[in-house]
């Protein structure tokens, strides 16, 4: 069924179709319409779930962590300072290896207060051990939620499904809502290896020593370092599971593509613009303009930021003259986090091959500053002529 709705409703429909059965949330703009919609589904009986209206985001994720530990399929969503307030729990969920799905409706973080869109909130959670997916339109939002539950439960790693506040959350566009039967075929019920229960009591997340330790049967149990190593190892190998998820999804729903990156006119391009989220669709308009001028430029959206698809990115950028990375967030004191990661992937896979592109970094749209397509076009035009600057350049700055 095709409908016209906003991005938050697309996310809510995804959660409904996935039969999440414990939802906890605390209101924050621009996430609120998503969780309000879920409370509607639950109160009307359309969704068989418990909806816990908690007193904070820290508690929202606490509810999800505990519910998932006890065998429920849990969901929450937040934005900006809500996500930052959760930070301790974000790390905990990953360490406890719980397959939670959380929508992050991207918004600028305080101070000063700002409710508009950028991506500093989710980017600042990069190193927490969560998988991060970024969406460019409403179809990707609903599809990503569905893929995320399958993937999270397959690899026991929590997933943030990130989409731009207002630009996607509050705008209306058509998208297809998959049939429940197809979603059920794609996503089996959640059956964890162990769920807290009184018949087989276990003590979860107890103090774990720096070194390995023998259990009462004489078997060696992991130390803290082994447990954390496995999170990294399984996060890296989850890249193959991401590909499997995409194939499975395409087989059942007839929609899909490259699981890691979303290229647009990249094959013959000499320069590639790179970004996360809705911005990359806006960049396509600039690319179309520049192509008419004879400038060979393409756009590559990155769909998974963690685990970082370094091989896919290096392959796509190999031999290009230049890469222009646009970011709505940055690692203060250096440059955008994405551009650092991207350069590291290029160095790892292309150093010494003579195929290393020049990389430039542009910061834009911070705190909801308007991103004008004309500015993107001009920036790309200039960046394909020569290297604009070594430091990241802020687009539209009035200082």
């Amino acid at each position: 069924m095709h409908i016209i709705e906003n991005g938050n409703v697309a996310a809510a429909l995804g959660v409904l179709l996935c039969r999440a059965n414990v939802i906890a949330a605390y209101p924050i703009t621009p996430q609120t319409p998503l969780t309000e919609k879920l409370s509607e589904y639950v109160e009307s009986g359309e969704m068989k779930a418990e909806y816990i209206p908690v007193e904070s985001e820290h508690s929202a994720l606490a509810v999800c962590i505990a519910a998932s530990s006890a065998g429920a399929r849990a969901f929450t969503a937040t934005s900006a300072n809500g996500l930052l307030y959760m930070h301790e729990q974000v790390q905990w969920a990953a360490g406890a290896r719980l397959p939670l799905v959380m929508c992050v409706v991207n918004r600028a973080v305080g101070a000063p207060w700002n409710v508009w869109n950028d991506q500093q909130d989710s980017i600042s959670q990069r190193d927490t051990g969560w998988i991060q997916m970024y969406c460019c339109d409403h179809q990707q939002i609903i599809d990503s939620v569905i893929k995320a539950y399958w993937l999270a439960e397959k690899v026991s790693i929590p997933i943030m499904v990130c989409y731009d506040g207002y630009i996607l959350s509050h705008t209306y566009m058509p998208f297809e809502v998959p049939d429940q039967e197809k979603v059920d075929a794609f996503l089996p019920p959640f059956r964890p290896d162990y769920a807290l229960n009184h018949e087989e009591p276990a003590n979860l997340n107890t103090v774990t020593l720096p070194d390995v330790r023998m259990d009462v049967r004489g078997e060696i149990a992991h130390g803290y370092m082994e447990i954390r190593y496995l999170l990294q190892e399984e996060m890296r190998t989850s890249l193959t599971v991401v590909a499997e998820a995409e194939k499975r999804f395409t087989d059942i729903f007839g929609r899909g593509g490259d699981p890691f990156i979303e290229p647009y006119l990249c094959d013959d391009a000499e320069y590639i613009a790179v970004g996360l989220g809705s911005l990359t669709y806006q960049l396509r308009v600039s690319v179309d303009v520049l192509r008419k001028e004879g400038i060979m430029v393409g756009v590559m959206g990155i769909r998974f930021y963690r685990p970082f698809p370094d091989v896919a990115i290096a392959n796509a950028l190999k031999g290009k003259k230049g890469v222009i990375v646009f970011e709505k967030a940055l690692s203060y004191g250096y440059e955008g986090a994405l551009v650092s990661d991207l350069k590291s992937a290029l160095y790892e896979h292309l150093a010494g091959t003579g195929a290393l592109p020049v990389v430039q970094n542009f910061i834009l749209g911070i705190g909801g500053r308007d991103i004008r397509t004309e500015d993107l076009t001009q920036t790309l035009r200039a960046a394909t002529k020569s290297r604009v600057a070594k430091e990241p350049v802020w687009i539209g700055l009035k200082i």
Partner: protein, 300 residues
Amino acid sequence: MQAKTTILSLPTEEFVHPGTRACTGCGLAIAYRVGLKAMGKDTILVVPPSCLTVLQGLFPIASTKLACLNVTFASTAAAASGILAALKVQGKDKIKVVAWAGDGGTSDIGLQALSGAAERGENFIYLCYDNEGYMNTGVQRSGTTPIGALTANTPFKGKLQQKKDVPAIMAAHNLSYIATCSAAYPLDLFDKIRKCVDMPGTKYFHIHIPCPPGWGYDPKYGIKIGRLAVETGYYDLYEIVNGEFKLTAASEKLVEKRKLKPVREYFRSQSRFRIITDEQIADIQNSIDAKWATYYKKDE
């Protein structure tokens, strides 16, 4: 009224293995052992970082025989809500969820989540074991450290502020059941837990827990000091059932006797109070006498 449990009628099944990592003479070890007997095996525990985390042991060996989820410091009551929700959607409503948190984890960092869960009426038992300080991190002051107590971060002057009255805060949430208990009266704790198990919503327990290293006394005197707190009228055992306040157990008997031990005996039994002056003790005695005068009046 249910029959009072005696040491002979207490269930023999143990849910805590012997030889835990608790300190010698730990009041919590007593309350925890007897408390778990009252709850029985159809229970899932929620525990934030605290002395209880240490008592429970180090991965992969646990001293508790019940299912237990260790959670972040501030999230105990929210985590209990999450387990309840998961049990409900799986049709396992009969399983009890019980949170055990320390006084810091309750009166300070965990208060917001506890208030939220209580306001939502989450159906679980929350026990605050109050050893009156951050004992696990080396005896720092908490919201429930009493006035006059020396701690690692009130090292010379002692704590200058009053103890936070957490049961009164919980009473403002209109709970079905609130009780104060003491590790020195473990059978009273047992009976109170059994009494409230089937009551609706959040049930709150505040348990006074003598702590040898934190309070400064010879470990063999833990029960004696716990009892002194009650016998001097300094720490009262009571229940608030659906809003009705009633002194219980040893405190109830003190009303009948009309005779309290001097609070000086309690203060002079612990080195944490070594700088407290006779004048300060006299002030505290006066406030205890005034409080008990109201209890006597109600009894007339």
